[in-house]
């Protein structure tokens, strides 16, 4: 396109510049127009508004657990027995398939020690998103070789701290942002 007018002139002409600039603006405009069509599929305002739930956990004795729904997902709340905590503490963190705590309340690189998995200052309480980190099934509680969780879909096994021990799941069960508002009331989100 550059040399259509004067064969000896190798410099781009003013017309070339205008062509390219116009084309460039059109391309940017097209890209910007596509965005609303893509972004409309992202979680909408109503989905984002469901961001917090409060749960009364006073009825949970050690060894019991409860599943609540938060943002459309199950959240496991488990009051662990002393034995379950002991077993989880005894594990060498370096030997775990996933060495990270995956705890949204802690730094991203916190190690997967039992203290980092349990609730802050209340180690017996384990609060986790009940979604297998493999392909999203809900694992069954108090089951599997480690007495923690077993996912029936493709056989992932988690321990009593919700850490992946066997099977295809790559990560420990995720821990959502939560806090105890009172002794018996838990706020998730």
């Amino acid at each position: 396109m550059a040399n259509t007018e004067t064969a000896d002139n190798a410099e781009p002409t003013r017309r070339d510049f205008i062509y390219i600039a116009t084309g460039g603006v059109a391309a940017v405009g097209a890209a910007l127009t596509i965005w609303p069509f893509i972004d409309q599929m992202n979680p909408d305002a109503a989905a984002l508004a469901l961001a917090q739930v409060e749960v009364d956990v006073s009825a949970l004795e050690p060894g019991m657990s409860l599943t609540v729904k938060w943002r459309g997902k199950p959240v496991f709340i488990r009051n662990r027995t002393a034995k379950e905590i002991e077993e989880a503490e005894a594990v060498d963190v370096d030997s775990l398939p996933d060495g990270l705590a995956r705890n949204a309340n802690l730094a991203a690189d916190a190690p997967a020690s039992d203290a980092n998995r349990g609730a802050d200052g209340r180690e017996a309480w384990l609060v986790q998103i009940g979604i297998c980190t493999h392909l999203g099934c809900v694992p069954l509680g108090q089951q599997g070789a480690y007495g923690g969780y077993f996912c029936p879909c493709h056989g992932s096994v988690y321990d009593t701290a919700g850490r992946i021990r066997q099977g295809p799941a790559p990560e420990n069960l995720h821990i959502p942002v939560y806090s105890f508002v009172t002794e018996t009331k838990l706020r998730i989100g």
Binding site: D44, A47, T67, G72, V138, P152, C153, P168
Partner: protein, 418 residues
């Protein structure tokens, strides 16, 4: 093989139209005068059967859509009311649900036919690739359709399959939330799946048009896999192929009716009559039978990302099949070694399907790994190597010579005008 039109508009109105839009001539040259190899067998009727099933799915789908409600709170009960209240709703739904199964049954036969007779080879590579594209769109359409009744299997199929995308490094989780329109599979997900489920069959119909266009450019392959050389090798599409296709479709309809009227839920899963519960996964989730081989491949690999890659690679290799096969001889009839490996491959695919239906534990996992490895070896190693070492049997001179057993052999090869 252009099959140029011999269409002569007969009356004034037809002439008037033909000068302005030569659509009758196009239809005539594509479906009446179109020359088909005279040795086609019944494996060649599955294209017509598939066209029939696509039309049937679209028609039953549109009428189901008049009663179905794509909202998490109502979807399950609207399907129940289709089953109980809507006039003939049970029939329409059973036709649509079993039609999806039979669609895959027919497409898999159609594809194995192509593999056996080398229909993907030069000059039909684009035709084959369009076919694999149709398979991909069918997979997406059937998956999203299966989500619509919003039973337990629907919900957990949606969850597991959308989570495949979470395996993508870095952006995976954002992509899955984008697909869901929330933080889990929910009503928003159902609603968009419904919109896409309505759209995809029409996209399939569009690609089918391209597929048939490509077919009519290169001409049909045939059981001998040799090119059409003279007019004597072919017969006009109508009445020969038309009648044969219709006969095969009627036989297929007998199987269809038997399923719909006697075993309507045989292909389905009882758990899908339990409403979706996001807090409880059924103890044993399995996809529909037509996805089982792919599911077995996914589960054979103990790593999440690699499992997902293997799943997609299982389809990607199909796209490249024309280039993995190094033999220039098309039909397995003349390829003694390939023919054996073809049947082994069929058995491996069936074996993978069986393993996909079994729990992922113990011996099943080991067997899935072996068969998964074989599946890929077939494409990546076995096909290229056989092409190099095999000595094909001599090919016949022409289709007519082979079919007419010598009676036409004396005829000199005339300049082929196709």
């Amino acid at each position: 093989m252009e099959g140029h039109s011999t269409y002569q508009p007969k009356n004034g109105a037809a002439k008037w139209l033909e000068r302005r839009l030569p659509i009758m001539g196009l239809a005539h040259s594509s479906f009446v005068a179109y020359p088909t190899p005279r040795n086609l067998n019944y494996w060649w009727t599955f294209g017509a059967i598939l066209s029939f099933v696509l039309a049937e799915q679209i028609i039953t789908g549109i009428v189901l859509a008049m009663h179905y409600v794509p909202a998490g709170s109502l979807a399950f009960s609207s399907v129940e009311s289709i089953m109980r209240d809507v006039n003939f709703g049970w029939l329409l739904r059973y036709i649509h649900a079993n039609g999806a199964s039979l669609f895959f049954f027919a497409v898999y036969i159609h594809m194995f036919r192509g593999m056996y007779y080398g229909s993907y080879k030069e000059p039909r590579e684009v035709l084959w690739i369009l076919g694999v594209l149709i398979l991909l769109l069918m997979i997406a359409a059937a998956f999203m359709g299966y989500v619509l009744p919003w039973g337990q299997m629907s919900f957990w199929a949606a969850t597991v399959i959308t989570n495949l995308f979470s395996a993508i490094p870095l952006v995976g989780p954002s992509i899955t939330e984008w697909l869901w329109g929330g933080f889990a599979v929910d009503s928003a997900t159902l609603n968009r799946f419904y919109a896409l489920h309505y759209l995809l069959p029409f996209m399939i119909a569009g690609v089918v048009v391209l597929h048939i266009w490509a077919l009519h450019v290169s001409g049909q392959n045939n059981p001998l896999g040799i090119d059409v050389k003279s007019k004597k090798d072919t017969l006009p599409f109508t009445p020969f192929a038309t009648i044969k296709d219709m006969f095969a479709t009627v036989v297929f309809l007998i199987l269809f009716a038997w399923l719909v009227f006697y075993l309507p839920n045989y292909m389905g899963h009882p758990d899908n009559y339990i409403p979706a519960d996001p807090l409880k996964t059924p103890a044993h989730i399995v996809p529909e039978w037509y996805f089982l081989p792919f599911y077995a491949i996914l589960r054979a690999i103990p790593d999440k990302l690699l499992g997902v890659i293997a799943l997609f690679a299982a389809i990607a290799v199909l796209f490249l099949l024309p280039w993995f096969d190094t033999s220039r001889v098309r039909s397995a009839k003349f390829r003694p070694i390939f023919r054996q490996f073809f049947w082994i491959f069929v058995l491996v695919c069936i074996g993978l399907g069986y393993l996909g239906s079994q729990p992922a534990e113990g011996g099943y996992v080991i067997a899935s790994r072996i068969l998964t490895a074989y599946y890929f070896l077939h494409f990546l190693v076995i096909l290229p190597v056989i092409g190099l070492i095999e000595r094909p049997k001599p090919l016949p001179n022409s289709i007519s010579e082979s079919v007419l057993q010598g009676s036409g052999a004396a005829a000199p090869a005339t300049g082929s005008k196709g």
